[in-house]
């Protein structure tokens, strides 16, 4: 059985990618499960989707614990613990990342046991994040070695039917281009056997002894505890204020910021709280003097020296 898990952010086509792959497997006569998983989080927040495919009926259910391939559509998620990208990664697992960093760097940084393959961002989908998912599904389909180009073409046509024709064409051609590109690599995603009751090892459960109510669910009287959640991780574009152009009309950007993440300092200058700014860029659109510009998050963090 093949088990493939896609990770990305809401809005990056992760769900569509898993559906396309599932559909391609189905065309080749496989039994298939494909399912997206997301919780209460929204566009920009980490989500994942997974595909199981087998020549025999699939009895496994639920989230894939030991994937044969992990696909990471957005490498800014790699260090986010909540995204749990490397969960269940073993030596035989292929980790496919859309990233400008070399594979060795990721292997070293996160001590990845499996093989790592990186597709550069600039090339994947001409740099548009919306096409990264398409690049991934094209590449994975080829790396599996058991799916034909025709099955992928058919799956793309069926799954992208809701897009307008120009967008569908661009998505399809990106996927097919990556299918062709992968012909040159020797890497093959290895199938693994279905989980059997006899060899099944249970997850590492945490024993939680029964406790009295106030201990298991203590009352919290502190206000604004949501500030502990760093929603800045959702951001793909970073708004940056050029204070030489800023007019100090804080009542615009600071009021309009839906998050309330623009504070006003004692001199009346707006200050963006990057720990919580989700990067919606309402401030950029509303700033009358165009003092706010947006930079891709990774470039911005490189420039400000946050990333080594």
């Amino acid at each position: 059985m093949y088990r493939i898990r896609f990770h990305g952010r809401g809005g990056q086509g992760v769900k569509t990618a898993s559906r396309i792959l599932g559909r391609a497997f189905f065309k080749e006569g496989y039994d298939v499960q494909d399912a997206p998983r997301y919780g209460a989080e929204r566009r920009g927040a980490p989500i994942f989707a997974y595909v199981r495919a087998s020549r025999t009926p699939i009895h496994e259910r639920g989230i894939i614990q030991r994937p044969d391939c992990i696909v990471v559509v957005d490498d800014t998620l790699m260090p986010v613990p909540a995204a749990a990208i490397l969960q269940g990664c073993e030596q035989k697992t292929l980790v496919l990342i859309i990233s400008d960093l070399p594979a060795e760097k990721w292997t070293h940084r996160l001590q990845i046991q499996g093989k790592v393959l990186c597709l550069p961002k600039s090339v994947a989908g001409k740099g548009s994040p919306l096409l990264w998912g398409m690049a991934c599904v094209g590449a994975v389909t080829r790396l599996l070695g058991v799916l034909s180009r025709e099955a992928l073409t058919d799956a793309l046509r069926q799954e992208l039917v809701t897009l307008d024709s120009a967008a569908a064409e661009q998505s399809s051609s990106t996927a097919l281009q990556y299918f062709d590109k992968m012909a040159a690599t020797q890497i093959v995603i290895q199938e693994s056997s279905p989980a059997a009751a006899t060899t099944y090892t249970s997850p590492r459960w945490l024993d939680m002894p029964m406790e009295i109510g106030p201990q298991t669910a203590p009352a919290i009287y502190a206000g604004a505890t949501s500030e502990k959640l760093a929603t800045g991780l959702w951001r793909t574009q970073r708004p940056i204020i050029d204070y030489t152009v800023c007019n100090r009309c804080w009542w615009l950007c600071s009021t309009f910021c839906p998050e309330g993440a623009i504070h006003v300092d004692s001199e009346g200058f707006p200050q963006i709280d990057y720990t919580h700014c989700k990067g919606c860029l309402v401030c950029l659109v509303q700033c009358p003097t165009h003092a706010i510009q947006a930079l891709p998050e990774q470039e911005a963090s490189r420039l400000s020296g946050e990333e080594k």
Binding site: R43, A45, W251, F256, P258, E259, G260, L281, L284, V285
Partner: protein, 307 residues
């Protein structure tokens, strides 16, 4: 209309934002924008009674953006929850268990699914009982939390998850403002985050009054309406400038428009920014539907201007 509140100009708007950041709302959420502007004015001496909806997710234990209390109710029964909280506070005050200064304002927070639909009966009952509370609906014109199915607040012709055909939603947006006003409560107002001064004046006014006070905030929704999150406020401004969203209030038995757009923009300026209206422009212009939408807005403002 004379403005007797402390908010005379935009410079009087709150500089400090006290609603906690880090919420799970989508980037560019028009409802969150309105809520934080309102909360900056209402402050932490408030109890929010939340009907099921997107904003249920604001307070997921142990996290909350509020500095005061919050109570979660089922989708149809937030005003009933508010009644319980109000009564409890009144009893505590009568018993002198809390000082009059420690009293809290009870605020119902619901989306349009609840306000226009399944919660309208409980709301009507609460107004009948002259419940002393504020009711705030963030109206994103559909069941946004579950994938944007149409609701009783969905405008004519809109594409939603349950109206995907080439003509969109066949029904018409319910006139909740008038339904509320027909109950003759203390105060009713429409607001929008894109007009923060108008919003601040109305919130200040509502806070100064007693009895049922109901607020209807149009909440542009990037996810459900299909537009780039950065346009959230721009679309709100266009809703006002095109006359789609009349800013008005009902007080002392009269409806007053607080901002009458002088040169109303054609409604297309608002519609074309949103993917949910895309089918009216592509592949061909749906002239009939576009004209119908424009005619309805013109008829509304004709009544306002010549009454």
């Amino acid at each position: 209309m004379t403005n007797t509140t402390a908010f005379k100009s935009k410079r009087d708007l709150p500089q400090k934002h006290i609603l906690g950041t880090g919420t799970p709302m989508c980037p560019g959420c028009g409802g969150l924008a309105a809520l934080h502007e309102i909360y900056d004015i209402m402050g932490d001496k408030t109890v929010f009674v939340n009907a099921a909806g997107c904003m249920t997710l604001l307070s997921v234990y142990p996290f909350t953006p509020f500095r005061g209390a919050w109570l979660y109710t089922a989708m149809a029964s937030a005003p009933a929850g508010a009644q319980g909280v109000r009564d409890a506070l009144d009893i505590l005050k009568a018993k002198r268990t809390i000082k009059p200064d420690d009293d809290l304002e009870v605020i119902v927070l619901t989306g349009d699914g609840s306000a226009y639909g399944m919660g309208i009966s409980a709301t009507s009952g609460a107004i009948d009982r002259d419940l002393n509370f504020i009711y705030l609906c963030y109206d994103n014109e559909g069941y946004g939390n579950t994938g944007h199915q149409y609701s009783a607040a969905t405008p004519h012709g809109v594409k939603t998850a349950t109206s995907k055909g080439s003509r969109g939603y066949p029904g018409y947006k319910k006139d909740l403002f008038s339904i509320w006003a027909a109950h003759k409560p203390t105060y009713v107002a429409t607001i929008i985050a894109a007009e923060p001064l108008d919003l601040a004046q109305k919130i200040a006014k509502a806070s100064s009054l007693n009895g049922p006070r109901l607020l209807l905030a149009l909440a542009p929704c990037p996810t459900g309406w299909s537009f780039d999150p950065s346009l959230s406020i721009e679309i709100g401004k266009k809703a006002v400038q095109t006359g789609v969203w009349p800013l008005k209030e009902y007080v002392d038995g009269e409806v007053v428009h607080t901002k009458i757009p002088k040169n109303r923009l054609p409604v297309e300026e608002y519609l074309k920014l949103q993917g949910r209206y895309d089918h009216l422009f592509h592949p061909q212009r749906d002239k009939k539907t576009l004209q119908e939408i424009q005619d309805r807005i013109d008829a509304y403002w004709h009544k306002v201007e010549y009454n």
